[in-house]
Symmetry: C2
Subunit: 178 residues, 2 copies
């Protein structure tokens, strides 16, 4: 791949992230191209369709979430690990608040099955450890946890301060007092 092509690919991805975040999933390709300072033709050279461009952004986004989950799994204390995932995720959600709104309707599982599975796998370990240690309420499984994270993401995109959202979720997940 030629050097300028690689440069342009990066410019396009950066612009697309920005554009999707600011204008939602229905930004025009022209707008993305303009932000990137390239022509539409260049967009289509790197990504055959708009959908492919969106998929790549989502893939990178999932990769960041997987990284967080894996970092958490390196933490010994299950309770600390759980809190770590929640807080780090909340911060990530805050940094990319716009993307959440843009891609809310899309099902990541359909678009990036591999990454989705990896994320779920990593989170399963965290939940499992928390369950054994008794630091998470009984009726929350991995799917429930993923949904709640999804909710956290929405809350933060809606304007909730991310630390506050994280605290509420973390506190709410603790097993109810006997």
């Amino acid at each position: 791949m030629r050097a300028d092509a690689r440069r342009n690919r990066e410019k396009v991805l950066r612009a697309a992230r920005e554009a999707f975040a600011e204008e939602g999933a229905d930004v025009q390709m022209d707008s993305v191209a303009h932000r990137a300072g390239v022509g539409v033709g260049t967009l289509y050279r790197h990504f055959p369709t708009k959908h492919a461009l969106m998929a790549e952004i989502i893939r990178q986004w999932l990769a960041a979430r997987i990284a967080i989950a894996e970092d958490a799994n390196a933490i010994q204390d299950p309770s600390v690990a759980l809190r770590f995932v929640i807080h780090q995720s909340a911060e990530l959600f805050y940094e990319h608040a716009g993307l959440r709104n843009a891609f809310a309707e899309l099902h990541a599982v359909d678009i990036c099955p591999a990454e989705s599975t990896a994320l779920q796998h990593s989170l399963t370990a965290i939940i499992q450890r928390a369950r054994v240690a008794g630091v998470i309420r009984e009726n929350v499984d991995v799917d429930g946890f993923l949904s709640l994270l999804c909710g956290l993401s929405a809350a933060i995109s809606a304007g909730a301060p991310w630390r506050c959202g994280a605290e509420v979720l973390a506190a709410g997940l603790a097993p109810s007092a006997p």
Copy 2:
């Protein structure tokens, strides 16, 4: 208004709710018309644009939420009132899970300012009472609460069991132990 016109208006609204819930905000008007068993012309007789149709659905949705908030305000115990709003809202979110996904990108405030204000007003009273009674964490204000409800809605749309989501939020909102 003629009787058949009134009937059709109802049919259209029902069909639109169903269509938006199932297919998202970008359902075609033709699809809504087909579900309602009327022609597109009839749609446009009752709602001048697609946007107007969506606005009416959102208005009814906000009305339901306002009703819940007002019911809660009739409850004496601030703690019970807070839990009531959360649980009732969660159930409503569950019943109309699809709509949330469809309209996530839209800002209700811009579309139905009056209803949005009314909802915010009702919730303010609930939060205020909870604050005075010391049954809600200090760093959550009305806006934060609205955002968290928005998050709850997203979590439920994402598949979290609504009772579970409500319990987590209710527990998480309690002031942290000293």
